[in-house]
């Protein structure tokens, strides 16, 4: 049973947020409201009238529209074509449809460019097209399934502006999320769901993110961070002068990595901050060997890996938690134990010589499931049937099981519920204590500040600034991410230091300054 005793009342003209852990039953509830799944008992009333929704078509006819987490757009069609697809009867496919789209776009401030191909749009624009699609079909109640999971902070703000527009026009928005800060800022009411049942409905004024988190998890949260430095002076990963060019959608070659240099030591977490699309993804892929840089050195533990294959790098001790776990870290249709082999097929316990060792792999999968608290009925279920958080726990468990020297963690807790998030953080901290070096890329600034020993800011393919996580606020980091500040960022008390200025000794964290060795020079503004 995924859901039971759900009671939720959403008032017209409000933004109502639904928060809960992964697997708590939010998506099931959404599917019921959108007619994709039938409830065993209970009723749904819309404007006081009891309705039964058997298919999404029923829901659409009643003015309920859904924006899915994974976009359902045809890349090779234009925005106009995508919008009218399947709704040709409403306003035709040409002039009238175009006029209607423009009207909607202006009314709600969506800023739609009608004739652009969807493949040329960024994530935020695609999301707006999805919203446009449901509005075009006459929706008065919008369901948004984790709309912010894929957006960067600025885009989230823009989305929230759109939601407020919708609300002002009398539309109702039901908004699923587990980013509590965002929920607090946009929602009029918040309903917490846990283990398939609604726990409480609150207004943002009467609650705090911490209280919400505790309601979601059903227990008190651990204190966010305990910081004691484990950084040593033994370099593990040395990256020097990495350059990489790539051709973008318009066929224009541009530099995506521009002389990136840094060193990560044993027991150190190096956090890379930056607005998405500034080269972090490319940096990660260059270090793991999926992209070949034009120049520059990558050295792991003194071994040159600049031209080594991904497999060699993994065998040499690089663990990799990719940004998009479904596309890069899992075989969704394969059972868990085969997923445990993925990426480590040449290593024990997965193989002996050139032969697989299914028994060893299975036994070790059982161990990972146990130790990393992966919620699953067994190791023979396909990875696709696990919730996002549990998939991620499996991946973290797998990567940690080969005693990596370096862990590359790209957005390790994206789309993961708070319980799993705390657990993954703990595991990274634990491994760091044991001497692991971590390259952490994240869009979650709290995560970056909380986990990192050293912070770098990436902007247009270069590391433009560095900061001491013990003495920086998310706001200060944010301004460097937009290119407004560079050099060594120091918490503002009095005069701001210029680019490349030496860190002020003894101001906030003398210890962090000692850690900064000569190797770090390369990351300073170039």
């Amino acid at each position: 049973m995924a859901n039971h005793d759900i009671g939720i009342t959403v008032r017209r003209g409000t933004v109502h947020a639904l928060v809960g852990e992964n697997g708590a039953g939010k998506s099931t509830l959404m599917k019921i409201l959108y007619g994709m799944q039938k409830p065993d008992e209970g009723t749904i009333a819309l404007d006081g009238e009891e309705v039964s929704l058997h298919t999404p078509a029923d829901a659409i006819a009643r003015g309920i529209g859904m924006v899915h987490q994974h976009f359902m757009l045809a890349d090779n069609l234009t925005v106009l074509e995508n919008t009218v697809l399947g709704a040709e009867r409403l306003h035709g496919i040409a002039g009238r449809a175009r006029a209607r789209i423009q009207e909607i776009s202006e009314k709600y401030g969506l800023g739609i460019r009608v004739d652009t191909l969807v493949e040329d749009l960024g994530v935020a624009d695609r999301q707006r097209v999805e919203i446009l699609k449901v509005l075009y079909r006459g929706a008065r109640t919008l369901i948004l399934d984790e709309p912010t999971a894929v957006l960067v902070p600025q885009e989230v703000d823009a989305l929230f502006d759109n939601l407020r527009e919708l609300k002002a026009e009398g539309l109702t928005v039901l908004f699923i999320s587990h980013k509590l800060g965002e929920v607090m800022s946009v929602a009029d009411e918040i309903t917490v769901i846990r283990r398939g049942t609604t726990v409480e409905t609150l207004t943002p004024e009467r609650t705090s993110p911490r209280q919400l988190a505790e309601l979601m998890v059903g227990s008190e949260l651990p204190s966010p961070e305990t910081r004691e430095s484990t950084v040593t002076d033994v370099p593990v990963l040395r990256v020097d002068g990495l350059r990489l060019a790539a051709t973008d959608g318009d066929g224009v070659a541009r530099t995506v990595l521009d002389g990136v240099s840094f060193t990560i030591h044993r027991g150190e977490v190096l956090g890379i901050a930056g607005v998405e699309g500034n080269g972090q993804a490319e940096l990660v892929e260059a270090v793991i060997g999926i992209r070949e840089p034009e120049s520059g050195a990558v050295e792991l533990d003194g071994t040159d890996l600049a031209h080594a294959s991904t497999r060699t790098r993994r065998e040499q001790g690089i663990g990799y938690i990719p940004e998009d776990r479904q596309r890069h870290a899992l075989l969704l249709e394969a059972p868990l134990w085969e997923n445990r082999i993925l990426g480590h097929v040449t290593e024990a316990p997965n193989s002996r010589g050139r032969l697989l060792d299914p028994r060893g792999a299975r036994r070790d999968t059982e161990r990972i499931v146990e130790e990393y608290d992966v919620r699953t009925p067994g190791i023979d279920v396909p990875a696709a049937s696990l919730s996002g958080g549990n998939q991620q726990k499996l991946i973290v468990g797998r990567e940690m099981s080969h005693e990596p020297k370096l862990l590359i963690a790209a957005h390790p807790t994206r789309g993961v519920d708070v319980g799993a998030q705390a657990q993954i953080w703990d595991q990274i901290r634990q491994a760091r204590r044991e001497g692991l070096a971590v390259l952490l890329v994240s869009a979650d600034l709290d995560e970056l500040i909380g986990l990192s020993d050293t912070l770098r800011v990436m902007y247009r393919g270069a590391l433009v600034a560095d900061a001491d996580p013990a003495a920086i606020t998310p706001e200060e980091l944010g301004s460097a991410m937009t290119g407004a500040a560079s050099g060594h960022l120091v918490h503002e008390d009095d005069e701001p230091p210029g680019p490349g200025a030496p860190p002020l000794p003894g101001q906030r964290s003398p210890q962090a300054d000692e850690e900064r060795g000569p190797d770090d020079e390369g990351g300073e503004a170039r």
Binding site: M1, A2, G23, A24, G25, T28, R195, G196, V217, G218, S219, P222, G289, I290, S309, T310, R311, T312, R313, R314, Y320, P322, D324, R327, H328, A329, L330, L331, L332, E333, A334, L342, G343, H344, V345, T346, S351, R354, L355, L356, P358, E366, V369, D373, R375, T376, P377, G378, I379, V381, P382, A384, S385, L386, S387, N390, G419, A422, Q423, D426
Partner: protein, 379 residues
């Protein structure tokens, strides 16, 4: 941290529901296929049950059975060749051209040399495999270097293979004339494969090749690192890349392997039946292989059953004609069976995935200690 018992760990291998699910798909497919074929036969105004009776009776005669087995050998090899591609999301439509040009080359080489059998046979087999591999490899290389879809290239290579054979299969080039037919010189006695002395007709010894290939297919794909990499690419190219597989190399390798197996498809005919490559050499087995690979779900035993079923239908179909049934009924049956199998498996697969997702959901709802546990973990 302790877990509630009966979850995850422990000696569990056989999930009864999984077994039911595994049997459900083929049963569903067979029942549906029988029902639809009955309707089709009924629509032609004939009695479907009598037709099935005729087929069963004729198919169970011993000469029919030997015929079916012999026919199934090339079908099976062809299916395996296609399945190697399928397992990694490559569609090798070119098995047809690959086996024909391979068999032709093997026939030419075999007819030209006179060596003792233990040297000549391996030479002929090797020639066939290498030629098949090269022919398929062209498509693999074009895909990785130029990005050309292997579907297009292999179809075109089929046509090129046909033309090449047509050019060389003429008197004064590589062929000789016998009656109205052109064919390559006969293989010497020593260069012919043995047969199993069964009654009333012999079973081709090349069945051993099929057995070896079937076992090798199962072992390499299921039990080796290479096979895991290959399947990983088939399931998700992006995940395979991130896991350290060179997708380009894997594409070329698997096309070459597929082609090498395809090269063997003509061997049962060449070494056990015709002993030359002539204008009447069977064509189209490559396409039959696609249907059988689909029917057998790329499974080594499933494809063997599929190949036998195909042979059975072809053999007994001829008998239906004598009974006044339309000749095309067998073709209809074959098509219906493949469609039913593909649809039935997809239906069962989706049902299974939903069932497992429900189970995971139930798991979460049913473990009341989980909240406390989590606090323990993160504290």
């Amino acid at each position: 941290m302790t877990r509630p018992a009966g979850r995850g760990s422990g000696p569990r291998r056989i999930d009864p529901q999984a077994v039911v699910q595994a049997l459900a798909a083929p049963l569903l497919a067979i029942v549906a296929a029988l029902a639809i074929t009955s309707l089709v036969i009924g629509a032609t105004g004939k009695d479907p049950f009598h037709a099935f009776q005729v087929m069963l009776d004729f198919g169970s005669k011993s000469d029919s059975q030997i015929w079916i087995v012999n026919k199934a050998i090339p079908y099976y090899l062809s299916a395996v060749a296609v399945a190697v591609g399928f397992r990694m999301n490559l569609f090798n439509i070119g098995v047809d051209g690959q086996y024909r040009i391979a068999a032709f080359a093997a026939a030419v080489v075999g007819g030209a040399v006179s060596l003792p059998g233990f040297l000549a046979l391996p030479l002929v087999l090797l020639t066939a495999m290498v030629v098949g591999a090269v022919w398929a490899g062209i498509a693999g290389v074009l895909r990785t270097t130029r990005g050309v879809s292997e579907v297009i290239t292999t179809i075109m290579l089929n046509s090129i293979a046909g033309s090449l054979i047509g050019y060389f299969l003429q008197e004064g080039r590589l062929a000789e004339k016998e009656g109205n037919l052109f064919h390559t010189p006969y293989l010497p006695e020593a260069t012919r494969f043995f047969t199993l002395p069964t009654d009333p007709d012999p079973i081709y010894g090349t069945i051993l090749i099929a057995l070896v290939i079937g076992v090798a297919y199962w072992f390499v794909l299921g039990r080796t690192r290479f096979g895991f990499d290959l399947r990983a690419v088939g399931r998700s190219e992006s995940a395979a890349t991130a896991s350290g597989v060179s997708v380009r190399r894997m594409i070329v390798t698997s096309m070459v392997l597929s082609g090498a197996v395809a090269g063997l498809v003509g061997m049962p005919t060449l070494l056990n039946e015709s002993f030359n490559y002539g204008t009447d050499f069977p064509a189209g087995i490559g396409f039959t292989g696609i249907a059988i690979a689909l029917l057998g779900r790329n499974h080594p035993i499933g494809m063997a059953l599929g190949a036998l079923l195909w042979g059975f239908l072809e053999r007994t179909g001829t008998q239906l004609e004598f009974e006044g049934y339309a000749q095309e009924i067998v073709g209809v049956m074959q098509g219906v069976i493949v469609l039913c199998v593909v649809i039935a498996y997809e239906v069962v697969r989706r049902y299974g995935l939903r069932r497992q997702q429900r189970e995971v959901g139930a798991e979460l709802a049913a473990s009341p200690g989980a909240g406390g546990e989590k606090a323990e973990v993160s504290a």
